[in-house]
Symmetry: D2
């Protein structure tokens, strides 16, 4: 492929994300926020009427009945889409990605990357064989403060990492929402559409990705205790894990969707031989930097003292809060820049989560479930 | 005017906001965030090259050398803009607004509304004579938690208001930034472009508007002590005020651009005969509700217990932080909805700051400066 | 006087503070906390039975029917008290102090120092003529973080002070508690026992003292707007003030006892040409240090980096919270050390609020009321 | 024993706690804070000179060279001590307790209760055979907000407990302090004086005790991963644990003394089927109550809505912060009240941690170490 993308917004298509979806609108806002792309086509639902209505409410130029049709037709059009956004339940992530990858259309996919580890491996191979940009929306790494946290670790400011505590706790599934017609709840608790894990796949993987992103270290092994607290639920809605990182650091990771009164409490704390770091998604513009024996420093996004990379992820002056959309948009910003580069014959520069992060995520899910089935025995987190 | 706006994004033009402007990009993101409008034309700078470059970087379809030209030509085109965004320094707010108002083009203008109280009065008259939507971006009232605060006051949940404390303090002008080539600082400290007030006009008016919005009460009189702490600065960079509200409540309002270490610390606290309210712009998704003798309640945006109006101003589930852009976009969302209504022959419904808020703001500036010149004597805040 | 105090706890007597008093028990705990003094005698109530019962419940060795009797008898005893604690309503502060001062007995008195400015002047004269230690329990200056704040100002770390914001807001008098038999409320709202001011005397003076303590600057003039919100109340329950400090800095001071939902929210913020400081009494072990352009530093009591003076005011390792009692005890600790010094023929070293702070407090009350009576006209805060 | 304790402060002796000790002074302040007891005798150090100097600096009436001598002599005196305070390193807790228990003297002991599980069992037997009060200073359960947390659980306000997260993290041993002559560090890292665990015994047991106190549930089994991060250190300085409670709830417990930048960060979060609770020791006067679907409530100590038990543990009005000493003093307050009861022939009422809590603590240490030695295998936490 080689499109002329120089003097225009990129054209995007979306699969899924129709009415009733939370994440569809998030992708739209995030993809378009920097004025670098516009969604013009969609296969927004498997239900034709919903697909049509959804497309119309977004003023899309073209609405398709199926993603396959969209992939084929858009690939042929001179004004076809430059990239596709995958905003479906988990089980469709891989088939949809494959359809567009095979047409040479760039992909921005929701996570987890696939339904199974096998699919994930196949997806890696597909992307490696292609010349397309593949970005996975582990959106929380898009926050400027998270970028700064990684930067401080990279600069050696916290010394050698010893201890990591990652939490991602919510309460929205503390009752059997899946039995009340809640679409979001219903696919997430259904193994056929969600995969072998519930909370571990839905939010635990964000924690795992955040941990490996910030520390630059791989989880070497884990001991996981998964629970389904809500009666009749087939997948886990809570998990507690002990972690051992590749450098000998130790850690805890917990995810839960039954933690009463918690909204979307993702946080990470990293402690090294020199200093500690603390970040909370719900107050995302602040990063605590805790040097031993010195006053804790409250680092704030887009202040002059932040790293260039962190500042590049900020759009407003310090004190003008940026949030979930803006972080999500940062993943798009970097992916779109890479699509422009690739289409102009330049080398992509990355910065966003890739197919390899997707593979780690599927490995994490697989190993966590395996460990829990063995009564929380230690399981190595590597792909044999 | 009567355009068919039913099945498309609205078309917007922008005056000002070219390269180097902070607020230009804010307007673009905010105007487009909900997928209901697209900026397609601009007169983005009085410097022709900067205008052209700015327009190109935004992929605008049409770039004009002057706002007058843009007003005339766009009014004539069948595919002309539906509304104009005014993102210039203060002294241009009124002339630009007048040019577009006279062409029957809807206006979204930055604040303060004009350079002088006289202009503000004229602007009110112009809007009243026209059939256009005029929205003023007192963006902080766009926050869902601020909407909830107003709702609780309206519902009588805090009883009769007795005491109000409003702060808007920053530090970015604590040194003579205007002498270092900082464009933002240079026009804001220049009476010709900024008007008779510095911090009082730039941020104090946001405080005044927020106070009257949330309490539903007018400031009856004020006693203001304005200071220019930075040597050589012509306009105030700090102000402390005593307030008396129309119902007998008392208050404090302080604004400052020399408060070392403060970013964009706008906050409001309201105390009534039954309960108190507290909101901080830098943690915007939280509203504290303090009923006497009961536990303080931490109200969080988009939770089920929030008012319909507040929820309508939220886009993400609770715990997924929304920030400055999203609040700004709420002003646009409401204004755009009204533009659609007016163009379809329906009655506008409001909800966003109007030309009357603009008049109050200019009155506030005028009276605060007058009081300070009289050694903080009490001055009534009404337009004789 | 010259007692041998070397190898024993000091002996204290208390006037007031009997059953039903809040502050009596505070004085007992604070005076005894460091094991350097013991309360052994008291004239704890004007009601003989309550006096007796109160003394017994504290296991006091001697209970007196009147403070005059106590002053005379204790002065004569070889094992008489070394100092007296005054924990009565305001109107008794001065007469009781005088009685003990005249016997050469050291005094620790509650604030405000007297009922009127005249009494305060007389008290200053009395103390100056005597050789006794006089300490006034402006206890909030006893907090280690407040000491650190003063230290940073003294070291020039914040530069020249420009702006000060002091708040002391509560809600416990938001209803007519004085009509419900609440003893605390009843004397505080009674001009005969409380003096010419309500909230201004009770808590506003703490704010004034804290401001002058931390900044090392005197308030030059003030413009005060006092209000009695609760019907039938004779004294103010709310006040808003503009301040001008002797160096040209500007400020705000507000005190309120009708701020619904507020407990005991005393705070101070100081902004200079280099940095800002922020401290909240309700989270007393933290001091925010806000250097322009650098990360905010969270200073924590008893960390190694704190000043010697601040560390001397801490008793527990960082992270083991100290509170109201411990700060109060710091006033006693310094006063007791000075009593030991004076009794050993050494020079007192101070550090605690003195009779001169008491005079400033009475001046503040007097001038605030005067300003408010003149519709918040500027009044100089100096003793002509 | 049957002493007349009615009209006097109780007389206490102390073993350990001499100069250089942190906890000695804490016990003194806590024991004496409510004016119900006075320390008059001590065997404050095994070094005779330090013992003597320490006693003198506290103005003690009697100083002993050994605890055995003190136990024997005080038991014989008509004015002997009523209870003994044990403030030694761990290895002396049991022998000292035994010496005084055998003399029928009441005991307030530091934790962990003993050096080994065997000693703990023997101590239980000793106390059961005696008629003395035995209190263990798991001081963190003395906080009013912790009492409220337990109360809410007991009242069913959070429903059935599902998930618990307990943390106790510090940084003071992140370097080899034991090699720098730091006495506190040196005994705590020495198996002979500290026992088989380091951080798990020193602070992990506080976490365990807090968890069982608040939830009213026993830990059924645990999987523990203990680490000694500092080179050459024999005992753990960090631990991560998975927990399973007796009712099927799951949990995490982590303790660390190498968490850079953390002071004394003990916290507990409990999530039930109806609501959650959150408490942080470093902001101890606040308890968050998180009912699903309702605003989070900020419960504050000594507000009218708190439970009677919680209010009984508060001494100051809401907003006047109480801290570490006051919580510690609550353990003493309850224990002293029980000593008075027992001496008056009444039944003790408890409320403070007992010898059975001490046994649980030793069991926790023993099982955590056992689990870790088995590579974090699940180990039941029961005494076979």
């Amino acid at each position: 492929m080689s499109r002329d993308v120089a003097n225009r917004r990129l054209r995007a298509g979306i699969v899924g994300g129709g009415k009733g979806s939370f994440i569809g609108a998030v992708h739209r806002v995030a993809a378009e926020l920097d004025g670098q792309a516009e969604i013009i086509a969609g296969a927004m639902s498997t239900d034709p009427q919903r697909a049509e209505e959804s497309a119309r409410s977004w003023f899309l130029q073209r609405s398709y009945a199926s993603y396959q049709e969209m992939a084929e037709q858009e690939a042929r059009r001179p004004d076809g889409i430059d990239f596709v956004i995958i905003a479906t339940p988990n089980h469709m992530h891989f088939p949809v990605a494959r359809a567009f990858l095979e047409q040479g259309i760039h992909v921005v996919s929701d996570k987890p990357m696939s339904l199974s580890l096998e699919e994930a491996r196949e997806e890696v191979a597909l992307v490696e064989r292609s010349n397309v940009i593949f970005a996975l929306t582990h959106n929380y790494t898009g926050y400027p403060a998270v970028r700064q946290a990684r930067y401080l670790v990279q600069q050696g400011e916290i010394g050698e990492v010893r201890k990591v505590i990652v939490e991602y706790i919510q309460d929205w599934l503390m009752k059997a929402e899946e039995e009340t017609g809640n679409k979001q709840a219903s696919w997430r608790t259904d193994p056929k559409r969600s995969g072998i894990a519930g909370s571990v796949g839905d939010i635990g993987t964000h924690g795992e990705n955040l941990l490996e992103f910030v520390t630059g270290l791989k989880i070497a092994s884990l001991s996981a205790d998964l629970t389904s607290f809500v009666k009749g639920r087939q997948l886990d809605d809570d998990a507690n894990m002990l972690l051992r990182l590749e450098n000998g650091a130790k850690g805890l990771l917990t995810c839960s969707q039954i933690a009463a009164g918690e909204e979307n409490a993702l946080s990470i704390r990293v402690y090294g031989t020199k200093a500690g770091l603390e970040w909370h998604q719900m107050e995302p513009n602040t990063l605590l930097f805790k040097q031993a024996g010195k006053p804790v420093q409250v680092l704030r996004t887009n202040q002059g003292y932040m790293s260039d990379e962190s500042k590049a992820a900020s759009r407003t002056p310090a004190g003008h809060p940026e949030g979930f959309y803006e972080a999500f948009a940062n993943i798009y910003k970097m992916a779109i820049a890479d699509i422009r580069r690739v289409e102009s014959g330049e080398k992509p520069q990355g910065g966003y989560p890739t197919v390899y992060d997707g593979l780690r995520g599927m490995l994490f899910i697989t190993k966590a479930v395996e460990s829990s089935q063995k009564n929380a025995a230690w399981v190595e987190m590597k792909d044999e």
